[in-house]
């Protein structure tokens, strides 16, 4: 049962905020993969393997995004060697 104290809590501080942030990240990522060429996931995997020959990194170390600028396609690859501190 919810007590009257629940009414004192300020709204929108619950788990929905986290859900929204996580969804925005995953939806953006999946959309960019979807629109990109089929070889992107494999390229991503192999880049990780190559980097791991030299440095230990997590799966999130390599971030790729494909953009169209005019008639030019730009693949941006960001490699983070030390994990930034988690914000959660």
């Amino acid at each position: 049962m919810k007590g009257i104290f629940d009414y004192f809590r300020s709204p929108r501080q619950g788990s929905a905020k986290v859900a929204k942030e996580r969804l925005q990240v995953i939806v953006a990522r999946e959309r960019s993969h979807r629109s990109g060429p089929d070889y992107l996931p494999a390229l991503h995997r192999e880049l990780l393997e190559v980097i791991r020959k030299y440095v230990q990194v997590g799966d999130e170390a390599v971030q790729m995004s494909l953009e169209n600028q005019g008639n030019c396609e730009i693949l941006e690859v960001n490699i983070t060697l030390s994990e930034p501190e988690r914000q959660e």
């Binding site: 009414y7 501080q13 619950g14 929905a16 859900a19 929204k20 969804l23 995953i26 939806v27 959309r31």
Partner: protein, 269 residues
């Protein structure tokens, strides 16, 4: 020529069949001759929700295979004029819905009906792809919950690339969202994604918001589409959605808790 609408989602159990029954009934109530097709091969359920399960003789796959003609397989709704149901087959053969077969049945229905509502199965396999392939537009049913929203986005991707319209280069399938099982009190407590959140995440038009409601279970128990329960919040929300579907501009309702308690009034303004 009929307008073909697919009710889809990716995730199961979000309210596709409930919505298909409500939309088809709502369109028929507005005088539009409507057929609703159950594409969930092996898991027929639309018949139960429409309350015609005892009148099923032939099904969708029988018609595709030529064992019966459409006239024999279509079930005329007993409560609502202008409304016909084509039940799913209970066969375990998942390949029973051939592309040519589905196209033939839809073409034939198109001669006679104004709207064809396709109740998609869950998933992104053959049945779901077939339900969407020939559609003119889609309604994506989503619950305000992470896995449902993500699956809806995947489905939106499929609708924009894997349909006949897309393959013919006519652009992606126009799609709108129907947010169901919405619990305003939980949204207000910050425990559930709000309508605005979901709209923002998916960047897609909202056809309607249907509240979580006991009336849906009552209606399915009775075998009566919930839209016929005019007293209920869910029934009214579906009426609004049908009106919007037909081009009317109606504000969204049932987005906040109607009856605020004393404390709610005092502290939340």
């Amino acid at each position: 020529m009929a307008r073909i609408v697919v009710i889809t989602s990716g995730k199961g159990g979000v309210g596709k069949t409930t919505t298909s029954a409500a939309l088809a009934t709502g369109l028929a109530l507005e005088g539009r001759k409507t057929a609703v097709i159950d594409f969930d091969v092996g898991l027929r359920n639309l018949d139960l929700i429409m309350g015609c399960e005892r009148r099923v003789v032939y099904d969708f796959v029988n018609v595709i295979n030529g064992d019966a003609n459409l006239r024999q397989a279509l079930i005329k709704d007993k409560r609502t004029d202008n409304l016909f149901i084509l039940p799913a087959s209970q066969t375990r053969d998942k390949d029973a819905l051939t592309e040519a077969g589905v196209e033939k049945v839809l073409d034939e229905l198109s001669q006679e009906f104004e709207y064809i509502v396709c109740d998609s199965p869950a998933g992104i396999e053959r049945g779901a792809l077939m339900a969407a392939y020939f559609a003119d537009e889609a309604i994506v049913v989503t619950n305000p919950e992470v896995s449902s929203v993500r699956d809806s986005d995947r489905m939106l991707g499929i609708l924009s690339s894997k349909t006949r319209k897309a393959e013919r280069g006519e652009g992606g399938l126009p799609a709108r969202l129907l947010l169901t099982r919405y619990a305003p009190e939980r949204v207000e407590r910050g425990e559930m994604l709000s309508m605005e959140d979901v709209t923002e995440i998916l960047s897609i038009d909202m056809l309607g918001v249907v509240p979580e409601s006991q009336s849906v279970l009552n209606a399915s128990n009775a075998g009566m589409p919930v839209i016929l329960d005019e007293e209920s919040d869910a029934g009214q929300a579906y009426r609004d959605a049908v009106a919007r579907f037909l081009g009317e501009d109606r504000p969204h309702r049932f987005l906040s808790t109607q009856k605020k308690g004393l404390f709610g009034r005092l502290f939340r303004g």
